[in-house]
Amino acid sequence: MNFWVELLISSLLLLGGLFVLVGSIGLIRLKDLYVRLHAPTKATTLGLGGILVGSMVYMSHQYGHLTIHELLITLFLVITAPVTAHILAKVALHHEVTMMKRTRNQRHVTTARMQLPPEEQEKQ
């Protein structure tokens, strides 16, 4: 295999792996649920993207023709990951999950979980 191709694939993979790992580390390290929500939705998704591209390159190289069906997984992920995060955030709001004390604008939680505009609270 061509060294440069190998290098390209390797770096894509390693980068992807790294992001995946970071996402999971974030899942452990970050201190509250809302914050934790950021790590896997983004880092992990991106990391997976890296691995997918790596795989695409690898397979295309291996089989001698362009293999792009990995893109499909990416497509799915890009469509679904935000929705998952959104739903989980909704649940967190609904359940009034405790958050870091220094979280700003905590007042929004009350209105957000009722799906009400923020002004209403300010009026009261």
Partner: protein, 89 residues
């Protein structure tokens, strides 16, 4: 080089999976666990792709695709459950 990097990525993915499991077990909130599960789905997609590359086969692509599709449905269902109790209403 490629083989070594694959092994390295494998190790990373394993560590990531174990970390996910760790979060899944400690919670503290159910949403944390669902999040951990969802992350696990994505990480296992990575693992399967890696395995496909490692053994030079495309046989496992559909499995990865399926995890992407079904993992989403399952996470959403969990979420809906926590929101409404009744997931099909």
């Amino acid at each position: 080089m490629l083989e070594w990097s694959m092994i390295a990525v494998g190790v990373m993915l394993c560590v990531a999976l174990v970390l996910n499991l760790w979060r899944l077990l400690i919670g503290p909130h159910v949403v944390d666990r669902i999040l951990a599960l969802d992350t696990m789905y994505i990480n296992s997609i990575a693992l399967i792709l890696l395995y496909g590359m490692y053994s030079g086969t495309q046989l496992y692509f559909e499995a990865a695709l399926l995890i992407a599709m079904l993992g989403f449905v399952s996470s959403v269902a969990f979420g809906k459950y926590l929101l409404r109790g009744d997931i099909i209403e």
